[in-house]
């Protein structure tokens, strides 16, 4: 087991999921409720990482973080180091690759809230923030959990983008999925097998948790009679 690779995988998955949560809430809520003329355009952009080959995504991301590109030069100016082949660069690419997983479940949860419930919160004297905290978030939390778990699991399994953007630097950007690939290439099937089993276990457990939670919620709602 390559513990360092596992640590980087978990760190990447954790930060991707955590950082995307507020964005998921903001974007999901806006896309569910607000009248946005550019909605089809924005939705398509968000779904793009789902259908694009990770190599294409990685290619454009590498272009945008090169020292000549605005993002790359800004980063260099701020931190005096390159984004390419760094953990931060990997994290940034991972954030983009996971946009559909972070936004879609939350958007779905927000659009399930009856508009009269939102109106009622305002009429009851809650301002927009209080309404978000006291009414909306407690109602969309299954969507948030879904977004978090899907993003986490998907990031653990990400291969193409990681390889394109992060390279394979031990201790910096070498994740578990890349370590598995390396071990298989070197015919160390046992080492690859252990790591593969671990990823399989984590992924299955996450999905199981998600299904079990949504089953619980469905079950509760059907109590209503």
């Amino acid at each position: 087991m390559e513990w360092k690779a596992l640590e980087i995988s978990l760190k990447l998955a954790f930060w991707t999921s955590v950082l995307l949560l507020p964005l998921g809430i903001f974007m999901g809520r806006a896309l569910a409720w607000k009248q946005i003329p550019a909605r089809p355009f924005i939705q398509s952009l968000i779904f793009l990482p789902l259908v694009l080959p990770p190599t294409v995504l990685g290619y454009y991301f590498l272009l945008s973080i090169s020292p000549d590109a605005p993002l790359g030069s800004l980063w260099h100016w701020l931190f005096n180091r390159s984004l390419a082949f760094s953990f931060e660069g990997l994290l940034l690419a991972s954030l983009i690759a996971n946009l559909p997983f972070a936004i879609q479940p939350v958007q779905h949860a927000f659009s399930n809230i009856d508009s009269e419930i939102r109106d009622a919160a305002r009429v009851c004297g809650l301002n927009a923030w209080q309404s978000l905290w006291k009414v909306e978030l407690p109602l969309v939390w299954p969507g948030l959990l879904g977004a978090f778990l899907l993003t986490f699991t998907h990031t653990l399994g990400e291969f193409g983008v990681v390889l394109m953007v992060g390279g394979n630097l031990e201790g910096e950007t070498r994740t578990l999925s890349i370590a598995i690939y390396d071990q298989v290439q070197a015919f160390n099937m046992d080492a690859a097998g252990n790591m593969a089993l671990l990823l399989l276990g984590i992924a299955f457990f996450s999905l199981l948790l998600l299904q079990w939670k949504s089953f619980q919620i469905d079950h509760k709602q059907s109590d209503a009679g």
Binding site: D119, A121, R122
Partner: protein, 372 residues
């Protein structure tokens, strides 16, 4: 022209600027209940939402107890959370993740924290929900949910109460019970109340005044009695489900007695409306103005405005029968009304039978406006 304007109560002047038409100029006094009636899509709910500050595409002004909530000419528009409105939504809109008590507590955030639970429980007791404080909305029946919604709207002492079809989602038996409870509750409330309903009976039972809306436009505001006896226009009468609305020409006028030409026969109708010979007007024969006679069983005495015709339709509807009479002189203008079913049996009424209607001079209605 000067206008007497009392500061108390709600004063609404609104015009829609968006896709939804709205044209309302309405007053609602403290303690008064004004029902907004009209077919679906007539702008009733939109008007309530505009009053609560939830719908913004309007021009005009909203004043409540002298406080300006909205004035498009001065750029004033209070946010919904600062208007202190109590609103019962059509779906009740209880917060599903909170218990009945917590639903009230969330609306009671303006009063000191120490009193909130006490006030919430007192209100739940007032709407007969003691013992159900900790139930979630999904564990309550439709009627109980409605009561929680009403308590949540009233507990924070709102300055305006808005009820959006509050009885539409419950069964008939519960509806009657809830209506009675609302009437009892209202006796202790001295704020303006607006009730949206598409149920005319509900409006007639509960409202002090009724405002008829059609395509967002306010057509008539009147007490239930006034509205039912003197609908302002044929459109209002039709919206209220009235039938037998026709047009006629004035032949002569003798003080308050008008002689009309109705498609060839002459009718005498008593009216104070200022019509003169030659004018075209609209008139209506309400049910209480129609008397049915079988020609072979004449009633002694003179019959007023006799109209000869035949029964063209006879349909039994429970204890009543719906009758349609085709007049001889104008078969395209049938007159419809209801009679008790036992009357149909006693008189052996049948489709095709010739009959005479007598239209009572004093009971017929002439519309102020001639537009059909």
């Amino acid at each position: 022209m000067t206008e007497i304007q009392t500061k108390a109560g709600l004063r609404i002047r609104l015009r829609g600027t968006g896709d939804i038409p709205l044209d309302v100029d309405l007053q609602c006094h403290p303690g008064e209940l004004v029902a907004l009636v009209g077919p679906s899509g007539s702008g009733k709910t939109t008007l309530l939402r505009a009053l609560a500050g939830l719908y913004q595409q309007v021009d005009g002004s909203i004043l409540n107890n002298g406080e300006c909530w909205f004035d498009s000419s001065r750029g004033i528009s209070l946010k919904p959370e600062t208007r202190h409105v109590g609103m019962v939504f059509q779906s009740y809109a209880l917060f599903p993740h909170l218990s009945a008590r917590q639903n009230l507590l969330l609306a009671l955030r303006r009063i000191p924290a120490a009193n909130r639970t006490l006030v919430a429980d007192q209100w739940l007791q007032r709407v007969n929900l003691s013992g159900l404080e900790n139930r979630r909305p999904r564990q309550l029946s439709g009627g109980q949910r409605q009561r929680v919604a009403l308590a949540r709207a009233l507990a924070p002492h709102p300055r305006l109460l808005l009820l959006d079809e509050p009885f539409s989602a419950v069964d008939q038996v519960t509806r009657v019970k809830l209506r009675r409870e609302l009437v009892v509750l209202r006796q202790s409330i001295d704020i303006p109340t607006l009730l949206v309903t598409h149920d005319l009976d509900e409006a007639l039972q509960l409202a002090d005044r009724i405002c008829v809306l059609h395509h967002g436009k306010q057509l008539q505001v009147a007490t239930p009695d006034e509205l039912m006896s003197h609908p302002a226009t044929p459109v209002v009468a039709r919206l209220l489900g009235m039938q037998n609305i026709f047009s006629a020409q004035v032949i002569s006028r003798d003080d308050e007695l008008l002689t009309l030409d109705w498609s060839g026969i002459s009718l005498k109708i008593q009216s104070k409306e200022p019509f003169n010979p030659g004018d075209t007007l609209s008139w209506m024969a309400p049910p209480q103005s129609i008397l049915l006679q079988r020609p072979d069983r004449p009633v002694p005495g003179d019959s007023e405005n006799p109209v000869a015709g035949t029964i063209s339709e006879l349909v039994r509807l429970g204890p009543h029968a719906s009758l349609r009479i085709t007049p001889q002189h104008a078969p395209e203008l049938p007159i419809g009304f209801y009679v008790p079913h036992h009357y149909v049996e006693r008189q052996s009424l049948k489709v095709g039978m010739p009959v005479t209607l007598s239209l009572k001079t004093k009971a017929m209605h002439i519309f102020h406006s001639a537009i059909l």
